[in-house]
Symmetry: C2
Subunit: 441 residues, 2 copies
C-alpha cells in the first residue's frame, strides 16, 4: 500500500463519525476546542498540578493504578454473589482479582503443605496426593469460562422487586456478572482416573470440597474422562483463594456450582450422591428433582450466550457519534462460531468481528463499529456455537424450559441457565436501559 | 471407551514412574508411608492446627493466597531489571503483578483524565485524543509476549563475574526473566494513522513517552501499519503503571525497548530520530551504529527462543522418578510450529506437546513426560517458528552475530537478542545447573 492509499483509506467507512477528531483537530468528540499542534505541558492542565508522581521503590507484586477503581461488588446489598464488572473487562481474560465469587461459606485459606487430594471408591489403585506430587503429573493449560448457573437471575428478581422496571443504578454486573474466564492449569481428571484404574460399573465421580461447607457435586464419568481438570493454576499463578486455592475442579462448559473449589476428594461411584447444599437455588442439579436423569432441567451444560458489554446497562453515552459495540460470547458446547448484532430492535442483523483466539468453552470477544444518530435505539447480540445452537430469544428460552415468562416475573423461583438474547435500549439522552422484557419503548 | 479399557490405560506409558503413588497408596512419590483409604482430618496433621482460617469480609479485589510467595525481584542486587519468576508461571499468561520491568526512570502514576495522545508530523489531519476518545475507537485484544532485547545477558555477566561458573542461587528469572506474555487490548496504530492520513514520503513513526525520561523510539512505517497497537488493556483490566498506564505502544515480536510505555506522542516522519536514551545497552538500536540500516545488528525482530521452566536452573529434584518437562517458546516472526526436547545432551530430540492456543508472537507452553533415572543428565529445548527458523545453538548464535563466544565471556559488552538453546545439567543430587557453556559435566 502506498502512502496516497494510506491517506485515502479512513477506517470509519460506516459514517466517519469521528470526523470532529480528525479535521484539523479544531474540535474533539466532546465538542471541546483544542490546540493540537503540540501536547499541553502538565502545568497548563488544571493549574499547576503535576500529572504524575514517582512511585518508589519498585513493587515486587504489581497492582492497578490508584486512578482505577474497578472492583468486584455484591450484586445486591448483602448478596452472597460477588460479581465481575464485566462491562469494564477488556479482552477475554478476566483479571484474577475480579473473578466472580458465589457461595454460602467464607473463603478458607488452606495451607497447601497440609492439603491432600484423595482419589478412591471404585478404583483399582486408590491414591492420595500432596500438592507437590500433583504438580509433577502431566498438566494442561486451557482458557475456559466459569459461569454460575444462576447468572442472570437478578434480572428477574429486580424486575419483580421494582414492578416491571429495572432499578436505577443497575449495571452489567447485576445481570451478567457471574461469569469469568481464565487460563486454568492443572491435571486432567482422566489422567488421574486412568492411573487409579476405574472399575467396571462406575458411572459417577463425586467431588468434595475441603471448606467447612463440605460441599460436594456429582460429575458423570463420561464428562470426567473428557475435559475435566484438577486445576492449580489461574492466569499464570496459583489459583486465588476465592477460586479454590490450592486446587479446584474445573468442569469446562458446565454450570459453575459443579466446579468444586478447595477440592479434597474424588470418589468414583456407581450412583450419584445427594448433594448436601441447602441452597434452594441449587435444587436444579439435585437427583430428587430428576429421578429419571432426563430432561433439560437436569442438563449441566450451559447454552450459547452473548452479552453486549459496551454500551451496556447503566452506561451513559456522551452523545451521537461513532462507537464500537463490543461484548462477550461463550457456549458450554464448544467454540463460538458467529456473533450477530442488531441495532434496530432485532429486525436486521450484522456479523460482528471475533478477536482471536476463539476457543472452545471460553469467552470470545466480539466487536462491530456503530454510528449512533442520537435517536432511541435497541441494540442486541446473539451468538451461534460450533454445533449450530443459536442463542434463544426470551420467548424461545421460555418455551425451551416450558415455563411461561409470566411465571418468572411473578414468582421468586430461581432462573437458571439463563441465556436469552438481552437487548439494551438507548434513550435519546444516551442512557442505556435493559430491554429484555417486551415492554413498550 | 468402556471401564475395562479405562482400567488398563495407565497414562505413564513412558515408564510408570509414579507407580509408587498408585499401588495401593502404600508409598507416595517421596517414599513416605501413607494411609490412603481416608483423608486426614486436620487435627491429625501437625498437631491441633486448623488447616484454614476464614477470611472475612469478601475482598473487592482479590490477591494471592498468603501461602504463596511468588514475586518479581531484581535480577541482581540494585539492578534496574525486575524479572518475572518464569519458573513459577503456569500456562502462557504472565500475571500482571509479575510482569517484568526494566527502565532507568521510576514508574510515573499518570492521571488518565489529564493524559493525551498526540498524532502529528507528516499527516493530513493531526489529532489529539483523550483516553476516553481513544477507547471509543475500534479495538482489538491479542495475546503477545514482550521481551527485553537484553533478556539473557545476565548469563554472560554472571559467567564473567564468577570465573566461568554460574553463581549459586541463580534461578530462571536471572537468565530468562525479562519476557512476559499478556492479553493486550487497544487500538491498532494503523487505524489511527489511516484516520490521520499519512503523507507521501513518510517512513517512520517516532513514539515518545510521558515520563520524565522523555524516552522515544523509532518504528518503521511498515511495521506501524502492520500489527502495532496503542494498548490500554492488559489481561482484562487497565494496563498496570509499570507497563505503561494509561497507554503504551505494543510492537509485537520486536525488542522490548521499542514498546514505548506511558505513550504521549506519535510523530510521523521521513527520518529516524536519534534516541535520547543514555543507556549503553540500548545502543544497538541507534542509527549511528547502523548508518546503512542494514545488518543483523539493526534487526528489531526477536528470533525463535525456548526455555525449559521445569526443571530449570536452581531447582532441586527430590529424587528419581516421573516428571513433566515443561517450558515456554516464542518467536518474533510469528507462531511456534514445533518444540523439541533432548534429555541426552542434544544427541536425540523428541517433539513436545504444545498447549492450545498456539498464537503468533506469544508465549507457547510445551510439555513432555520424562522419567529421571537419577543419573547426571543434560536436558534442552529447541523451537522452530512458522517460518522455519530454528532456535540456534550457542555456536550458531555466535556465528550469526559474528562474535566469538570468547568475546562475550571476556568483555562486559552487552548481549542482545540472546536466543541460543539453553541446556540444563541435572547432577546426581537432583540439582539443576546451567549448561549453556561447553564445560565438562
Amino acid at each position: 500500500m502506498n502512502t496516497k492509499e494510506r491517506s485515502r483509506r479512513r477506517f470509519l467507512k460506516e459514517g466517519a463519525a469521528l470526523a470532529g477528531l480528525a479535521v484539523g483537530g479544531v474540535r474533539s468528540v466532546s465538542g471541546q476546542k483544542r490546540e493540537i499542534t503540540r501536547l499541553p505541558t502538565w502545568e497548563e492542565v488544571e493549574g499547576k498540578t503535576p500529572h504524575y508522581y514517582q512511585r518508589t521503590p519498585r513493587r515486587t507484586y504489581g497492582t492497578p493504578s490508584p486512578f482505577e477503581a474497578v472492583h468486584r461488588e455484591p450484586k445486591t446489598p448483602g448478596d452472597r454473589a460477588w460479581a465481575t464488572p464485566l462491562d469494564q473487562v477488556t479482552g477475554i481474560i478476566t483479571p484474577s482479582g475480579l473473578h466472580f465469587e458465589i457461595g454460602p461459606t467464607p473463603t478458607p485459606d488452606i495451607d497447601p503443605r497440609q492439603h491432600r487430594l484423595l482419589i478412591q471408591g471404585m478404583v483399582d489403585r486408590p491414591v492420595i496426593l500432596t500438592m507437590e506430587e500433583l504438580k509433577r503429573l502431566p498438566a494442561v493449560s486451557r482458557i475456559h469460562f466459569v459461569e454460575c448457573e444462576g447468572n442472570g437471575n437478578t434480572v428477574i428478581q429486580e424486575f419483580m422487586r421494582y414492578g416491571g422496571m429495572m432499578q436505577e443504578g443497575l449495571t452489567l454486573r447485576h445481570i451478567c456478572g457471574s461469569t469469568s474466564c481464565s487460563e486454568w492449569t492443572g491435571v486432567l481428571l482422566s489422567v488421574l482416573l486412568k492411573e487409579a484404574g476405574v472399575q467396571e460399573g462406575a458411572r459417577w465421580v463425586v467431588a468434595e470440597s475441603a471448606d467447612p461447607g463440605k460441599n460436594f457435586r456429582n460429575v458423570p464419568l463420561d464428562k470426567a474422562m473428557d475435559d475435566v481438570m484438577v486445576a492449580y493454576g489461574q492466569n499464570g499463578e496459583a489459583i486465588r483463594p476465592e477460586q479454590g486455592y490450592p486446587i479446584r475442579l474445573l468442569v469446562p462448559g458446565w454450570e459453575g456450582n459443579i466446579n468444586v473449589k478447595w477440592l479434597r476428594q474424588l470418589k468414583v461411584t456407581d450412583r450419584r450422591y445427594a448433594a448436601n447444599n441447602r441452597e434452594k437455588g441449587f435444587l436444579l442439579t439435585y437427583p430428587d428433582m430428576n429421578p429419571d436423569e432426563k430432561g433439560r432441567w437436569f442438563q449441566f451444560e450451559l447454552g450459547p450466550k452473548s452479552i453486549i458489554t459496551f454500551p451496556s446497562l447503566g452506561r451513559q453515552l456522551p452523545g451521537p457519534g461513532f462507537y464500537e459495540i463490543s461484548g462477550l460470547a461463550w457456549a458450554g458446547a464448544g467454540a463460538i462460531r458467529r456473533v450477530e448484532i442488531s441495532t434496530d430492535g432485532g429486525r436486521t442483523w450484522k456479523d460482528a468481528r471475533l478477536d482471536a483466539p476463539v476457543l472452545p468453552k471460553a469467552h470470545t470477544r466480539f466487536r462491530i463499529p456503530w454510528n449512533w444518530d442520537g435517536k432511541e435505539v435497541v441494540i442486541s447480540s446473539r451468538c451461534t456455537d460450533e454445533k449450530g445452537h443459536i442463542q434463544p430469544t426470551l420467548e424461545e428460552y421460555s418455551k425451551l424450559y416450558g415455563v411461561p415468562i409470566e411465571h418468572w416475573v411473578t414468582t421468586s423461583g430461581g432462573v437458571y441457565h439463563w441465556n436469552p438474547i438481552n437487548p439494551f435500549r438507548i434513550s435519546q439522552d444516551g442512557k442505556v436501559h435493559n430491554a429484555i422484557y417486551p415492554l413498550p419503548l
